[in-house]
Symmetry: D2
Subunit: 351 residues, 4 copies
């Protein structure tokens, strides 16, 4: 199969770098176009971006000329674009590309809560892609915008996905989030060394409403959020990668611990059935050790694309409590978007 | 006033060192006796203990000879003893000293859940000292054992104390606990650098049942635990001192945020009324900044004896959620026990 | 004695906050004036500055109105000004205030290497104040500028001060520097969590040339740098406060280890002789423990104003090697400048 | 080619786990035998060892029965054994296996300084294997013991290897070492969080003498250490993996910076020429970025088997200074030993 050319909008920032890293050697997609601000346009990537991940930028990317992040008929971008644009400009730029016929698979938050923009965790709600026709009608564009959730939301929804059919009524979740989620320079070291910051701007609201949407259903061409009550406490801790969540959940069904663990471990979604290249074989994995999952020891397992759950035990207030973990910049950002694009490719939606 | 001689049981360990540090220059108590295992007995303190706190052991303590931690009529210990004994031996040793007439003010967990042993947070339940007579009758000893709670429980009960009169029904709490709570050598650096360990053995059970006891009342010479439902998620994070708690709480009364903040800030207990030397002027302090309290920036304020609360906001699942913080080795251990002893002294119970 | 009013230039930044903290309750100086950029001028301090140190800004400071950092005859600043100005603007502003008759005691680097500007570590080179007359003649101003060195230089020169009379020939020093030295937001957490950054811009050059100047002497109204060879390797590590230095030194004299330790421990300078309020009783203290000094356990001792040395042992390449430590934001910044001002006050130079 | 069966002595400890991890999927060696203390013998590996690395122990290893770490003709160990034995018992056990005909490729320090035991960094001194005959004669055993150096020594000798032919006269090196070098539980978190410990027991002596031996030559069947002067300052920092070294070096030859960088980048040794499976293509790599190498960003590159050098600049005291980095548990421990065994296999010494 010929590879499909793809581009990255916002290629010089930290999420952009994660896209570049994640797309290295991808079997379906060939990264050939890098879009960034006017300030970077025209420069070689190595001169436009300070590489902040481990190692260095891949050699051919380092020597690629950065384009301006706007549709340009003389220098057309590939049809499929991953967006890592900053929220301050993503609305306008993503819409311009959708208008110009591009499929924009975005990690930015700007369009996530639109009722006709899929907010995908493909194992959980691949069916939400069905609203794309309504999106095209409403906006009158030939392209499309598809989003993935906030990094903490991904972790929570992957852990809740297997429980959805048992009726999720109420969830209290406390996050201990890695600093990489805040980008670069992001969290000052003076704030986080030997410290906990019990606040991340707007994160709790996003986590609550995004989770409800992802677990929701489609009605009359709209995505309707699940009517469950969620309460999030979001904290930043001195961890590089991997968001850890302490979750209490109340379900409609009465289940045993064994049934829940079985539901988690046997969970498979569309990405697994279609064997998408970035899909983890087992999207949710229950760890039996009493003190796991842990970000430093588990986040990078299985390519950083799985969600690890542990410590399931009864909750004296709601029904059950457990710990969940996923890699925030892979499964929670670049890998999430690439998996979304793979799903669309496999379903013929990139035509 | 003449100072009262006091001793420390388990003086060479980390909590023992915290007692030594906290008692330096105490206006009422003079630390003159150091008890430890037979292995240390007879040595000078500086040779028996590797000092793990900042700086060095106070000079006169360094040159004090360590005694064996057992009642010895030839070398009698002071009447008031602070116990930092390891749980593996605390039951026997503390009882032996109570039998020998000593007042044992213990930080160890062994006797905390006995129905006639006060588990004190003096601002919250100073009245629980009333069971000491029943304790003496049951055990038939002239002395007494009084305890302070686990470090995470202290933080929670100080934050809940001002709300008790509004009817505490349900609490979900997630802790992010400092490594100093685990003693020395305690948590291996390989476990916690850049990591979160979502498990602390037996901590959740202790936190749940101790909180219920502290918030409970006295009936027929027994302490009866409060019939509230509590669920704790306990985690270790890369912080040296200061336990941070994310708390959701359901109350019987309907209150506004302003009323709750007013209740927190105006809370005063017996230690404040009696102006005990180690009592913080304001035991609970609400911080208005959106990202506080934080362990590194707030735990040491007010001598490490206050509880700081912040981020009060409605909880979509229970009624309210907030963040609470206290210094785990001061207010949560050595300082807690010393305040207990000050309370007993002021009430004439050390006679 | 009436207290002297003083001001801080650059009061909103992190070093400015350290000045505010250090001057709280100072017996000689009363902080009454806060200067900052035009953007902050006219605001209350609490609105102009985000407080980054522990706790909160002192209450009366929080309510002080910030002035613009320029001489203003209608709203005159106090004669004595501590400067925490950013290097990008310090040259012009400090000179303007000296021209207007102020004594500017600066922590900024801009004037440090001028031959007629004292670069003071008062224990080591209090005599360098003698060049102030030459400075006034050259610049034609009634005021004066006096500086303290870079935070890593302070630590090194305090440790070398007692050895100066034995002839310092060559020094190789490797620093492990705390993040607080870089201000706020300063070092991104992504750069330093679980990491070492073996580079601090221009730090090695500053450390080399400043040390030579401080250890130098006065000749014909100029400060002449010591002709010793120094090589610095500067690194940033995941420490909040306290710079640790690994030092190898070659001396002209042959000394025993005991003689060196004696020289360190018995070292006293003008600040000790004049009993300046911020002077540590023993400016250099040798620690006998095999694994000390350590930043977290020793930097804050003695008010953060002393230099701790340990691990003296023969160096197979030069003569001796040892470890030195001082608190970089107290002895290495705010405390250094205040001690300089105390020295000038005691010598009648604040007229 | 049939794979060769191999075993690990001390398989349950942290270095043993690193051997297991490193040998997974090895093209030449098949790990079939796990030796440990009598206490572990007879248990399945998963029950005998608490896995401390990321993820979990490989499935087939988890189910392997642990053998006692002593020669046993009824349950013979493979001929090639990797030793991760604790130094307290390694002398006796390694000798017993050599006596029984095994090739013991050891990471333990016990035999490193024997004049007829190769202390190998194969790129630097593969020729030292020539003393094995003398070793066999002296000890009268059919087997052999071969060692790799201390983790900090590996980093230094790889960086100095390319410079050896220019005459290494004097070296001052300061290390900033990762906690994983101390094993598990190893460094207590109370010692290293937000701290530097400027002391590692015996590390400086080992680093000095091992480096001299590795850079030495063979004379009359003995390895004769290089007559260069080395001074090491060893420090522990809050890093998980990767030792960072600040090095000053004096050479006999006058070189330009370009010549040194060229010497580093073009360095190839026997492992590269023989294309050993674990040999890095480029054993020493010079990084041009001003702030590299860094442990978190560079240690794991190239499989953790290369040494990264950066920041070459003139040293005012010796000739040149630079920063060097290698992965302490891969290139500095398990990977080092496996590369030694590969070298011996390729040279027909495992016969």
């Amino acid at each position: 199969m010929n590879k499909m050319n793809v581009g990255v909008l916002g290629a010089t920032g930290m999420v952009g770098q994660q896209f570049i890293r994640f797309l290295e050697g991808h079997p379906w997609f060939d990264l050939t176009w890098l879009g960034a601000s006017e300030r970077s346009a025209g420069k070689l990537y190595r001169d436009a971006a300070k590489w902040n991940l481990s190692g260095t930028a891949p050699g051919h990317i380092a020597l690629t000329e950065v384009s301006a992040a706007r549709p340009d008929s003389k220098n057309p971008a590939p049809k499929l674009l991953f967006s890592a644009m900053d929220a301050s400009v993503a609305t306008e730029i993503e819409r311009a590309f959708a208008q110009a016929g591009h499929i924009v698979v975005s990690n930015s938050r700007n369009h996530r809560m639109e009722h006709d923009v899929p907010l995908l965790v493909p194992e959980v709600n691949a069916d939400h892609l069905a609203v794309l026709d309504a999106q095209r009608r409403r906006f009158g564009w030939p392209g499309a915008i598809v989003t993935n959730p906030n990094c903490s939301t991904v972790t929570l929804t992957m852990a809740l996905g297997p429980l959805k059919r048992y009726g999720i009524k109420r969830v209290v979740v406390t996050t201990m989030q890695a600093v990489s989620g805040a980008g670069y320079p992001g969290v000052p070291s003076m704030d986080i060394l030997g410290n906990v910051v019990p606040y991340i701007g707007n994160e709790e609201e996003k986590m609550q409403e995004e989770t409800q949407k992802i677990l929701g259903s489609i009605s009359a061409d709209r995505i309707v959020s699940l009517d469950a009550r969620l309460s999030a406490h979001c904290n930043r801790v001195a961890v590089i990668d991997g968001h850890t969540l302490a979750v209490s959940v109340e379900l409609e069904a009465r289940l045993s611990a064994e049934e829940i663990i079985q539901a988690l471990n046997s969970y498979r979604g569309v990405p697994q059935k279609m064997q998408l290249p970035s899909a983890p074989a087992r999207p949710v994995q229950y760890l039996e050790e009493p003190d796991r999952p842990q970000p430093r020891r588990d986040a990078e397992r299985d390519g950083g694309m799985a969600c690890f759950v542990g410590r399931l035990r009864p909750c004296p207030v709601l029904d059950w409590k457990f710990v969940a973990l996923a890699h925030n910049t892979i499964r929670g950002a670049a890998g999430a978007a690439v998996l979304n694009a793979e799903l669309m490719a496999a379903q013929g939606l990139l035509g």
